[in-house]
Symmetry: C2
Subunit: 144 residues, 2 copies
DNA sequence: CCTCTTATTGAGACTGAGTCTTGACTAACG
DNA sequence: CGTTAGTCAAGACTCAGTCTCAATAAGAGG
């Protein structure tokens, strides 16, 4: 049993292993940062937090982890990207319109409703996305 | 009764009136184009279709109409913008993952489910968005 | 350990969407 | 008509995201 609890959520080593990719310092630093990040983030924010890691590397790593299914990408209606460490199961997003924080949630009743709606739609359904916009407790208090 | 049926959906004249803005040739051309456009569009597509209208004008007009509530903006998960002539009532989007076409839909049962989920969420809910991704009939046939 | 191969890196050039600036134009109204 | 303020097109600018390339270092095999 080691002293440090290593990143279980991202499981970087396993992911890279699976992809046949190398474990490098920038990747480790990025993974650690995402892990301890509170909520969702954009590549820009990661770059700002790690100025000595090249922009290209940040974008490459985020893309890599997204394709590996480790990260989950979404976009606000204005197109701003939000990445978050993916929940292994199907889920949706609760987005704070003030601070941009994204929390995952899921609700079986909602899923059922979506499936029912889908049944009525023409064509082959391949997926769906639900986003709830709110003002989180923190922002509601602060009256931003 | 005039020979031409004018744009009822966009109701450009009324919208501009309401904003105290002027009715100009580029705006008329853009409105007509959006009106006859099949599905959702991006500013880029409008620009390509009307090469002699300046890019800035296209973006300004789209922004104007969006703020006026005449257009409705959304973004695919990859951030690509999709604008569509807004339905006056609350609705959601059925997006074809192959051709990018967006159709509005609404479903009272789904709305109820969202409202129920919202009731369980912390903070003040200010809105929601549901997107169903499918392969539309046209694309399903064509096997794109 | 050492060496070799090859993936990965950071710097910076590049791209393309979207915005801003500017001088010319014109809609709207008297 | 004449005036004037909103709007126009062109093109400079910005900024996120991608690509190129020479230098570096993982990690496998000796």
């Amino acid at each position: 049993m080691s002293t440090h609890v290593h990143n279980q959520t991202l499981d970087l080593a396993a992911t890279l292993e699976r992809l046949g990719a190398r474990m490098t310092a920038p990747r480790r630093r990025l993974a650690a940062l995402m892990e301890r990040w509170d909520g969702a983030f954009s590549p820009e924010e990661l770059t700002a937090a790690l100025p000595d890691v090249g922009r290209a590397t940040v974008y490459r790593t985020v893309k890599l982890l997204t394709e590996a299914g480790t990260l989950c990408r979404t976009a606000l209606p204005d197109g701003t990207p939000r990445y978050s460490v993916d929940q292994p199961h199907h889920h949706h997003h609760l987005v704070c319109v003030a601070c941009g924080r994204v929390e995952p949630f899921d609700d079986p009743a909602l899923e059922r409703a979506v499936r029912n709606t889908a049944a009525g739609a023409r064509g082959r359904l391949v997926g769906h996305r639900v986003e709830l916009y709110h003002r989180c407790e923190r922002c509601a208090e602060g009256a931003w």
